[in-house]
Amino acid sequence: MSARLVPLLLALAAPAYAEPQRATARYRIPDVTLVRADGARVNLRRELDDGRPVILNFVFTTCAAICPVMSRTFAAVQRRLGDEVHLVSISIDPDEDTPPRLLQYARQLRARPGWSFYTGTAEASLSAQRAFDAFRGNKMNHVPVTYLRVAPDAPWVRLSGFASADEVVKEFRKLRSGD
């Protein structure tokens, strides 16, 4: 059996309502320039360290099965947490996801200010994915992961799997209250 197949077959055997796996980690955010959907060239580290709590994911706009679910979850999280949090979505298909495409995607999701979308060079996106241990060879292999961090010096919480809006908000509140 090919090593690449094993996780898949395990996933097939998994129960239908798998709760996301929770882990904490300290990621070294690379010093790279990304391009925000509004066209601004920004430094990823500074974007994440602006003082606000961050909830982050990796998506691409033409993704059919996984990203629409994750993005709808982010939209629901934003409706509930509002300005309390900076939502960050980084494209893993930056050549296709130009800033205008990201803006269009944000509009479809009714994203409000406080939820930022980023693209950039393929290398910059890759280095962000690597830093968060999210790179899986190519974009069709990407995995659903949600990352939360309440302050620039706090560790990241990594929720692997399809976290529901309830689960993300609950995790966020728990982190905010310092449990």
Partner: protein, 544 residues
């Protein structure tokens, strides 16, 4: 006698009813399938209301977002995304018992971890019937009673609407697409008028060699096919190449293509070459649902394509790259575009104007209806240091610049139209001019293409047009890989879905810097460079 005629009177209306009932039944069936298709593809119910479903824990979805096609794709063959298996739901996969696993999944013959239809069989399950399938759709349980993944919405459907969907699934992807027979797959390649004979021949030679190797010209090739010789898991089929040569004005091409198709339906158009316009070919492909598989065209159509996949947007990409480049340089006051009546050049001019948008820059379009030395040299004579000159011209026309002084300002050339760094531009101009270059740079490319170059040499072919020949080779290689993966499901929609998934992973011997597709994406290479004639880049990678 009397009783016999009375009997005859009774029979006539019965026959009439029967004669009418057959087509009535057929058209009712067709209508039911259309309604089922609308639920499947658009997420719209027969009443016009939106399809609604709930993903346990993940919320409600409706309409297009809830449509089955979103995850299971048009073919119903499913997909694998990020370790998430979306199983195939096309008829045969639901209504037959699911076997333990395919032999090529024993590790030795594994074709790739993203083959949903192979993986989908890898855990056994009893076949669905109408009732258990309705239960799966509405309640999210399979025939064994276990719950389906949370990603699968539980749909709110009436019994009759659910039955429409069940009937649609029953027939989905059950038969191979046209052009596929028990022992062969027919392909056509399209050549538009005006392509130079040596280019036409170079492309056809690549395709013919590739096809003859595929068709077991070598014993090794057949041996490689071995796992697929097993009748249960896909049989060996010879590839037949038909050359669909077009003549006359583009307005007549679609009728010519339809006539070719009537004579011999093909599974897909493969490669192909078109310099000026390709619109009628794409229109034919969309109308007839025939894949148009990576043709080498300068001016593709960028909208409304499901069945056409391209390596790049050609001159349209160049125009957008140039707009980005010039937009970044505030020094250009006037942009002078020189072109002929060539449709590709006209398309590029329109795309450039649209991409630049309203700015302070003056755009001047100079169209040469007949190209001669004097007219061309006059058209470029007044360009100043504050102007940028853009030449949407082909190689032969560029040679007519010999004797003219290059202007003091920037000069840009379409690499696609001019023949890239091989353009016959006078030496004085070469130092000044920059190529809008939607390809990999020459030095890097020679490494990427080394396998292709040795393949050409092995098959006794000369390098005539690197882009055209490498494109034809790659189109064939990608087709071969996809057809191998598809096993017995030789379905056109599935072919395109496989292309979307596979190209995201592959390192391929291409003319291009990076090839990548994804769901709904139809142009694999999305950027380029501004390059000098010595093959070095003057810009970074530009994605407009």
């Amino acid at each position: 006698m009397r009783s016999r005629s009375r009997y005859a009177f009774a029979v006539v209306p019965l026959l009439l009813i029967a004669a009418l009932a057959v087509p009535w039944h057929a058209s009712r069936q067709a209508m039911r399938l259309r309604l089922g298709e609308r639920i499947y593809r658009d997420g719209v119910l027969p009443s016009g209301a939106l399809l609604r479903g709930v993903r346990p824990g993940l919320g409600e979805v409706s309409g297009a977002q809830a449509a089955c096609v979103q995850c299971h794709r048009r073919s119903g063959m499913g997909t694998v995304e990020g370790g998430q298996l979306v199983p195939p739901i096309a008829g045969p996969f639901l209504f037959q018992p699911r076997a333990q696993k395919l032999p090529e999944l024993d590790g030795q013959h594994t074709r790739g971890p993203d083959l949903a239809h192979a993986l989908g069989r890898s855990h056994p399950r009893a076949p669905y019937d109408d009732r258990s399938l309705q239960r799966a759709i509405c309640q999210g349980t399979d025939p064994t009673g276990s719950s389906l993944e949370a990603l699968m919405p539980r749909y709110n459907l009436s019994d009759s609407d659910a039955q429409l969907l069940v009937d649609y699934l029953k027939q989905l992807s059950t038969r191979p697409s046209p052009g596929v027979t028990a022992d062969s797959i027919h392909f056509a390649t399209v050549v538009t008028p005006g392509v130079a004979p040596q280019r036409r021949k170079a492309m056809l030679d690549v395709l013919q060699s590739y096809f003859s190797v595929h068709n077991g010209g070598s014993r090794l090739a057949r041996l490689r096919q071995k796992p697929f010789l097993d009748p249960e898991h896909g049989r060996y089929r010879a590839w037949e190449l038909h050359v669909w040569e077009l003549t006359g004005p583009p307005s007549t091409w679609e009728a010519q293509l339809l006539a070719y198709e009537r004579r011999q339906p093909v599974f897909a158009l493969i490669s192909g070459v078109g310099e000026r316009t390709w619109a009628p070919v794409q229109q034919f492909c969309e109308k007839r649902e025939v894949p148009c598989w990576f043709p080498t065209v300068d001016l593709p159509v960028t909208t409304g394509s499901f069945y056409s996949v391209y390596f790049s947007k050609g001159v349209l990409l160049e125009a957008e790259m140039l707009a980005r480049r010039i937009g970044a340089q505030a020094t250009v006051r006037r942009l002078i575009e020189v072109r002929t009546d060539d449709e590709a050049a006209a398309g590029a001019t329109r795309a450039l104007a649209a991409a630049i948008g309203p700015t302070g820059m003056r755009l001047e379009e100079r169209v040469l209806h007949t190209v001669d030395r004097a007219a061309l040299q006059e058209a470029v004579a007044d360009a100043t240091a504050e102007d940028a000159l853009v030449l949407w011209l082909r190689g032969d026309d560029l040679a007519l610049l010999a004797g003219a002084h290059p202007p003091p300002g920037a000069v840009y050339l379409s690499a696609t139209m001019a023949g890239a760094e091989h353009a016959p531009l006078p030496a004085g101009w070469k130092a000044q001019a920059r190529l809008i270059y939607p390809f990999e740079l020459p030095r890097e490319r020679s490494t990427n293409l080394s396998r292709f170059h040795s393949w050409l040499a092995t098959h006794g072919q000369k390098l005539v047009d690197e882009r055209l020949q490498a494109d034809a080779y790659l189109a064939s290689a990608l087709m071969s890989e996809q057809v191998g993966d598809m096993l017995e499901v030789l379905n056109r929609d599935y072919l395109l879905e496989r292309a979307e998934a596979l190209l995201s992973a592959h390192l391929t011997p291409a003319m291009y810097h990076r090839l990548s597709l994804g769901p709904t994406q139809r142009f694999a290479s999305k950027g380029g460079y501004i390059a000098r004639f010595d093959g070095t880049a003057e810009s970074g990678w530009i994605v407009p």
